[in-house]
């Protein structure tokens, strides 16, 4: 794959992706992989214990995409929606992969204070949440999108509102309802 042909493809794909489900899926894969690669590279290059934030990663992925399309594609809102979904998918895939890698699920749920390190329980909660989100998508698709943006991608309320092209107050309302739903679902 040469850079040139890729550029053309990506721009075309992006433009088609609003209508064409297949193009949407491929754009999703591209962004998904970009995010994973960026995260890996950041960590590879990270010589100090910097915290990787989902938000900064998404911003970088956006810049990369801009670079790749030669700045022909400027639909940041559309990008953020895709990226947030990709971030959710990456998170879930990562947890599942780690769980598989461990064999024997018992190990995953060690009490957290055992070595004072987080992770296992958080992973379990997110995995449980994912089941709920799939059901929720049937009834409250807006909540799911807000959860993807705010919870998985770490976007601010305003960014979420911009990306979804709705008002901030409407996002805030959705978010607080979504949070309430998440909490009750996890404690059910």
């Amino acid at each position: 794959m040469s850079e040139v042909s890729e550029t053309v493809n990506v721009t075309a794909l992006l433009n088609r992706s609003r209508q064409d489900p297949e193009a949407r899926e491929r754009v999703f894969r591209i962004i998904y992989l970009d995010l994973v690669r960026l995260a890996r590279r950041q960590v590879g290059a990270a010589s100090r214990d910097q915290t990787l934030s989902a938000t900064s990663l998404i911003n970088e992925a956006y810049l990369k995409l801009q670079e790749r399309t030669g700045h022909q594609w400027n639909d940041r809102h559309h990008f953020l929606r895709v990226a947030a979904r990709a971030m959710r998918q990456i998170t879930i895939d990562t947890i599942r992969r780690k769980k598989r890698a461990k064999r024997g699920g018992d190990q995953v749920d060690l009490p957290l204070d055992d070595a004072r390190v987080a992770g296992p329980r958080k992973s379990e909660m997110i995995l449980a949440l994912e089941e709920g989100l799939c059901e929720l998508a049937e009834t409250e698709p807006r909540w799911v999108e807000v959860i993807e943006m705010r919870f998985f991608a770490g976007l601010s309320g305003q960014e979420t509102a911009d990306a979804l092209e709705v008002s901030l107050s409407s996002v805030n309302r959705d978010w607080s309802q979504a949070r309430a739903w998440m909490k009750s679902f996890l404690l059910e």
Partner: protein, 957 residues
């Protein structure tokens, strides 16, 4: 009531919703803190006042805290500070402890520690006001400034001093990591968050909230195990930091954020040493290794060498898993670091003599010059060098001095030292040999004491032996024997020792027949006198065994050495002598092709050499033997490491003119060549050539030195010189060892391989015919060289286009290796691929080629220049069936090849010319042209002229 679907605690869920679900840290396999977006609640803190400070800007967040920039309000003066809000739930107990600890921290007044200005609890929210430090994390700062190792260590010492100051006030940092150590633009170091971790720890309740308190890569074993944390934990963390500053990599790389993985990395696994870490990086990711080295202003290999040794030891002494095995205090650590800076010996281990000698030599002469002594250092240095001789003598198992004669000898040596007048030596250089010669001249003055004189002659002879001056040894030994003859019935033991010296000296000069005769006399002496002296008899047997060994009469040598070993085992305190004999047996076994047996003997020798007080003088020989065994088993990396160690040790113990040093050096050079580390190899070969010239063609090691030089010259395309060197090698072996010396067969085989590679099948055939019948008999049919012979014969068939016959031969080799469970040599796999391709069996060819490539990558690492030929072949074979894969491989070949071609590798240039054809066929004409531009000058050099190179050149035109 039904059982709840999810067993989660409410506070965990709250925490999750607060911190968000992006698991990027996990995803990226760091095991670092789980990441957070900007916390939602940051905004609500801005503008609020804590004490007299108002929060104006969000700066950062730590594991359990938020940090804001704050400004003083309502005071008479302006002040900016950092305010840290601790996010721990404020239990009454915590608040009390917090107030107490804050008091202690407030008194921690040191320029290297960020001061605590104020702090308290406001509406249940604990906060700290601290000096606002502008700067970069220490590791980023060092890289940005491209600081060399010395500068890094100086900066690190500043960190240590701050930590040490706190320790003297009974405060432990607990969270030493780069993010907590900032360096300002003027180069001053500030430590943040002293003792903060303690404010949060031990409260139990807050640890389950899902936020890790410690950073796994910078955690100490005690912290992970939840054991008491004290000064030793800070020392451990300092060690982790030092490792990072030296190598750019983490000593505790954590692959996975699971508890088990963290425990394994921190508690169970020994930390990788800095030099090993550098080496690993170099193997896995050359570009990264180069970046790291550049930031330290050294080439990759020199950085590795600089770190190896003392710095490895210092870091290791910080990173012991058991707290009581670490440095006792930060002061001790700093003392060793300063010592390193000033080329003095460090204390982290009981230093051996040769080790101290190296440091000493560096300190005084700026280089490792152990024989040339100058100026004021002369007198002290003589003592040091003479001490090492004495060790050398012992090592050679030549003498056990009687107590009284020993003191006479010492007096004599002391006299000799006094002679070396510092005024006379001012500015002048005096070598050890000159000193000895002075001593020899003075021996006459002792002529009234015949026994003492004999002993002295013997000691002098042994000293010369240590220096490899075999002619002098011979002269002195003969003089002593004559002297003994004049005094009636000689002491059998002394006489046997003298005969032993003489035999060894003759063997050293390559006069094997004479040596054997003399060694025979020594053994006969005992039978004649009926002497019952196990030690002396063992020694005589050993001399004879060694002589046979040098003559490559291996089986007889082993029999005699085994007898000698059995005798030595009856005598107490013969650890060293036993080690020498074991090494010889190991080497004999190795030369017979019994690599496992050889390693077994070497390991036994190593155990003796390293037990108790280490025997430096024998270490080199053992390492060398092990390196060769591993080399033949295909473990090049390990072989290279051991050869490197042998070079260092032998140089320190024997000096840069000694043939033991030469032998170690040759091995190192050879392994560098095989690993295509051509720059490092070039340096080693220059040294080998120098030594070989100095020793002369009559020296026993001249032949093997020239053999290696020839291989190097061939590699870098000096083909005529290579041919001539090999001829000199053969001539020297014939002269020293006789026409039936089996090494000559090996050299001829190598020459035939070269002829084949140069595209001269007729010459190769002639060479192979000459040795084909005798080689298997001389080495034994199991010997690896026999495989090489068969392989070369098959390749010759292939070169003459008889691919079916070639494949038959190659498949036999394949089978014999596979059935014996041995790795099939890559050259066999590649030859199979080539011949199958020539017959049109594309799929089979591709399969063999992939096997070759995988095998090469496993052996050298996937980024190594040594893999070029296999990558080129795979690219070529893939180009029909899978152009995308072919393209990737061809580009990889071109990238790897360019680097080694730039270092002068002719044969990689030839490979690249093939690759250029592949690139062209894949539509990558530009890359092909670029490669051709690079390799053309190499290929068209007159010294490289040969049919194969002409073909390569034609491919580019």
């Amino acid at each position: 009531m039904t059982k709840p679907r999810h067993p989660f605690e409410e506070r965990d869920v709250d925490r999750l919703l607060e911190t968000g679900g992006g698991l990027i840290g996990d995803l990226a396999t760091t095991g670092e803190d789980l990441p957070h977006g900007l916390p939602d609640d940051v905004g609500r803190w801005i503008g609020r006042q804590f004490g007299s400070f108002e929060l104006v800007d969000y700066l950062d967040r730590g594991g359990m805290s938020l940090v804001f920039r704050a400004e003083r309000r309502g005071g008479d003066f302006e002040q900016t500070a950092a305010v840290k809000l601790l996010l721990a739930a404020g239990s009454a107990q915590l608040v009390r402890r917090f107030a107490r600890e804050r008091q202690i921290l407030a008194h921690l007044d040191h320029p290297g520690i960020a001061r605590i200005v104020d702090g308290g609890v406001q509406e249940g929210q604990p906060y700290l006001v601290m000096e606002l430090v502008e700067g970069r994390p220490i590791d980023a700062y060092c890289d940005q400034q491209r600081m060399n190792l010395g500068q890094r260590i100086d900066l690190f010492i500043q960190v240590c001093e701050a930590v040490q100051f706190a320790h003297s006030r009974l405060v432990v940092h607990r969270d030493i990591k780069p993010g907590n150590i900032l360096v300002s633009s003027d180069g001053t170091v500030k430590l943040l968050d002293f003792g903060i971790a303690r404010l949060l720890e031990d409260d139990g309740g807050d640890l389950t909230t899902g936020t890790p308190l410690l950073t796994p890569r910078f955690a100490s074993p005690e912290q992970v195990l939840g054991e008491p944390v004290n000064v030793a934990s800070d020392i451990y963390q300092l060690g982790l930091l030092l490792h990072l500053l030296l190598t750019g990599t983490h000593a505790q790389p954590i692959e996975d954020a699971s508890i088990a993985a963290i425990k394994e990395a921190v508690v169970d696994l020994e930390a990788v040493s800095p030099s090993q870490a550098l080496e690993n990086t170099g193997r896995r990711d050359r570009a990264r290794a180069e970046r790291i080295a550049r930031a330290r202003r050294l080439p990759v290999d020199r950085l590795q060498r600089r770190v190896r040794g003392d710095l490895d030891i210092i870091v290791g002494a910080c990173l012991a898993k058991e707290p009581d095995q670490r440095y006792r205090s930060v002061q001790d650590l700093v003392r060793d670091l300063r010592a390193w800076r000033e080329f003095r010996p460090i204390r982290a281990r009981a230093p051996s003599r040769s080790y101290r000698l190296i440091r000493f030599a560096r300190r005084h002469w700026g280089g490792v010059t152990t024989t040339v002594l100058t100026g004021i250092a002369l007198l002290i240095a003589c003592v040091a060098v003479l001490t090492s001789w004495r060790e050398t003598l012992q090592a050679r198992a030549l003498a056990e001095r009687e107590a009284d004669t020993a003191s006479a000898v010492s007096t004599f040596l002391a006299d000799l030292l006094e002679q070396a007048d510092p005024r006379r030596a001012g500015g002048e250089e005096l070598t050890v040999v000159e000193l000895l010669n002075q001593g020899a001249a003075r021996l006459d003055k002792l002529s009234d004491q015949r026994a003492v004189q004999v002993q002295l002659l013997k000691t002098m002879a042994m000293s010369y032996f240590g220096l490899g001056e075999y002619e002098s040894v011979e002269a002195l030994a003969r003089q002593a024997l004559d002297l003994q003859d004049q005094g009636g019935v000689p002491d059998a033991r002394v006489r046997s020792e003298l005969l032993h010296s003489l035999a060894s000296a003759l063997a050293g000069q390559g006069r094997m027949e004479e040596a054997m005769a003399v060694a025979g006399q020594a053994t006969a002496l005992f039978d004649e006198l009926g002497a019952d002296d196990a030690m002396a008899r063992a020694r005589a047997l050993h001399t004879l065994g060694l002589t046979l060994f040098e003559k490559k009469e291996l089986e007889r040598a082993i029999v005699l050495e085994e007898q000698s070993l059995a005798l030595l085992r009856q005598v107490p305190n013969t650890r060293r002598q036993q080690a020498v004999v074991l090494t010889t047996i190991g080497s004999a076994a190795r030369m017979q092709g019994g690599l496992e047996v050889a390693l077994d003997y070497y390991l036994k020798a190593l155990a003796l050499v390293c037990a108790g007080d280490p025997i430096e003088s024998q270490k080199g020989a053992v390492f060398r033997g092990m390196a060769q065994s591993w080399y033949h088993q295909g473990d090049l990396v390990r072989a290279g490491q051991l050869a490197g160690a042998a070079v260092v040790i032998d140089r320190a113990v024997y000096g840069p003119e000694h043939d033991r040093y030469l032998r170690s050096l040759m091995l190192q050079a050879l392994y560098d060549l095989r690993l295509v580390n051509l720059e490092s190899a070039a340096a080693a070969f220059a040294e080998v050539s120098r030594l070989a010239d100095a020793l002369g063609a009559g020296h026993p090691n001249y032949g093997s030195a020239l053999n290696m030089v020839s291989q190097f010259q061939h590699r870098i395309g000096r083909l005529d010189e290579s041919r001539r060197s090999m001829e000199s090698a053969v001539a020297s072996r014939q002269k020293v060892y006789g026409a039936d010396d089996r090494s000559i067969l090996e050299y001829r085989l190598t020459r035939a391989i070269f002829d084949l590679r140069e595209g001269r099948p007729i010459d190769a055939e002639r060479g192979l015919t000459a040795i084909g019948d005798s080689l298997p008999g001389a080495f034994g049919s199991d010997h690896p060289l026999v495989d090489t012979l068969n392989l070369t014969q098959s390749r010759l068939l292939a070169a003459n286009d008889d691919h079916r016959a070639a494949i038959t031969g190659l498949e036999q080799l394949l089978l014999s290796h596979e059935s014996a469970g041995r790795d099939v040599p890559v050259s066999v796999l590649r030859a199979l691929a080539e011949s199958h391709a020539a017959l049109g069996s594309a799929q089979t060819a591709l399969e063999f080629s992939i096997r070759a490539l995988e095998s090469d990558r496993a052996r050298f690492g996937s980024g190594s220049g040594a893999t070029v030929a296999s990558v080129v072949l795979a690219a070529e074979l893939y180009s029909e069936s899978d152009p995308a894969e072919a393209r990737d491989l061809a580009l990889e070949a071109s990238r790897l090849g360019r680097a080694v071609v730039a270092a002068g590798d002719l044969w990689s240039a030839v490979s690249l010319s093939r690759n250029a054809v592949t690139l062209g066929s894949l539509g990558l004409a530009d890359e092909a042209a670029a490669d051709c531009r690079l390799i053309k000058p190499v290929l068209s050099a007159p010294s490289a002229a040969s049919p194969a190179v002409a073909d390569a050149l034609a491919r580019c035109n």
